[in-house]
Symmetry: C2
């Protein structure tokens, strides 16, 4: 297995992962960081195109905006019966590129690991697989099996549906959190001081804001490029404005009505309350346990 971009964070993670599962892994990265390969205990693919034409699996772990260009360069040289995978957060565009440039006998499996390289284990994490229709018969099952055996949740989806769901699950989630980070800056709000006055809901939210701001701005910016994210952001801002207008006008009844209506649509709010109570308890037990220790 060749991992293109295997010297980066996500690429390295997958290099270790597949090596631990018995694959003969080699990595290539544009920076030529041979020391990363050495640290991972895998081979650095000095002859990139030679390796492409000999590998059973080529896994692309490159930024979304470079994916199409890398696919165009690499996919045509893959051998029949081999598998081309990517691990980007959007699927429509990478799938189009892979379908366009991979020769007919090459199988194509779009992949979206819903986690970053800081996770300790894949157990309980979600992996979304987007097999190319009629072009992923041999490789889909074994790949599913590997992730499932390790306790990951594997979901198989079409590329369009994937991007539709991710426009909310990732793009809106991140957008709301990043906007909070920007608002804290604009308000010149003292985040460190505010920690003394935290409710657990704020504590966890503010850590998620920090979590996202700590990670690759390139990745988070590219997730906002989701073809449906623009509309989702627009709707979100409209709802913010509508709720703000109700609150500004002191129309508490209208604000409450909007909350009730959102709760009706959401469904399962009681289960969400129970789950978040449980989460908050776990969090407090962990924090206070650590303090006593």
């Amino acid at each position: 297995m060749l991992i293109v971009g295997g010297t980066g964070g996500t690429g390295s993670w997958f290099a270790s992962y597949f090596k631990d599962h018995g694959f003969l892994v080699s990595v290539w990265g544009p920076s030529g960081r041979v020391e990363v390969a050495e640290r991972l205990g895998v081979r650095f693919a000095s002859d990139l195109m030679g390796e492409v034409s000999e590998s059973d699996i080529v896994l692309l772990s490159v930024p979304i905006k470079e994916t199409a260009r890398v696919v165009e360069k690499i996919a045509p040289w893959m051998k029949p019966g081999s598998l081309l995978m990517d691990v980007t957060s959007l699927k429509s565009e990478p799938m189009r590129a892979m379908l366009r440039w991979a020769p007919e006998g090459v199988e194509i499996l779009g992949t979206h690991p819903m986690f970053g390289p800081t996770i300790p284990h894949i157990r309980g994490q979600t992996v979304i697989l987007v097999p190319a229709e009629g072009r992923c018969d041999a490789w889909l099952s074994p790949m599913e099996e590997i992730f499932r055996k390790d306790g990951a949740r594997v979901e198989v989806l079409g590329a369009e549906e994937h991007d539709h769901i991710m426009a909310v699950v990732q793009a809106l989630t991140h957008f709301a959190y990043i906007s909070i980070g920007s608002a804290l800056e604009s308000l010149d709000f003292d985040v460190a001081h505010s920690r003394r006055f935290m409710s657990p809901v704020y504590e966890i939210m503010i850590d998620f804001v920090g979590r996202i701001l700590a990670q690759s701005p390139e990745l988070y910016a590219s997730i906002q490029e989701n073809p449906e994210a623009k509309r989702v952001r627009e709707v979100y801002i409209e709802e913010c404005k509508r709720l703000a207008m109700l609150a500004d006008a002191g129309d508490l009844a209208g604000f409450q009505e909007a909350m009730k209506s959102a709760a009706d649509h959401f469904q399962g709010t009681e289960e969400a309350l129970a789950r978040s109570d449980k989460l908050i308890s776990l969090w407090i037990d962990n924090r206070e346990g650590g303090r006593r220790g």
Copy 2:
């Protein structure tokens, strides 16, 4: 100790809490729900004004918008040396009302418990105390002591500073989450289905949206009445619009720049990442442990 509004969720919680700490508690509620008092094992104060004039502590647990009216009715009848407390989420206005209506010899302690009545224990929770200047000498220490002994974090603040911090810690946090709930409704997004494709960040966020929507719309609406919340909402919406404009225009460099700038202001993003990694691990262990069991 008399708890006015002691038959409601928060009032009942404090009735049990102080009863367990050896106080002789009686409760009164406008609905006259004597059965709540019976369930709690405390007395129902049928003669409200008689009890007011005899109690060492009167604790008000009524909706914010009714606080001033209730204070006006009750505070003038309290006896010298007694303590008047409220447990509302805003402090400037209730403090003004208590200072205006309580006789001189009555001590005043604004209180903001940063938790709801669903918590199993006060350990690790935050309680903010706002003592009236020069009018809370006898009661502040014993009250602090009770909460601290149980492992709560007690913070002492001025009323204005309290409301300033809460405009972000509570009002902005809730506002962003409620707006997400409204956006999900407006997009007709299938929340239950989306759970199959969750990252832990989304999973926890969506449970917090559900958590807030499950609770009292009256409470959440009144928190938006914070005197500084209007400006905070405005700034938040401005930042949402600015980031959306960058993303809409495909200005990924500008979007990344905004993220970096917010990260610089935030500080401690790496610690936030580490803490949220830990939280996510705890959450996954709990979920997957439960599944195996």
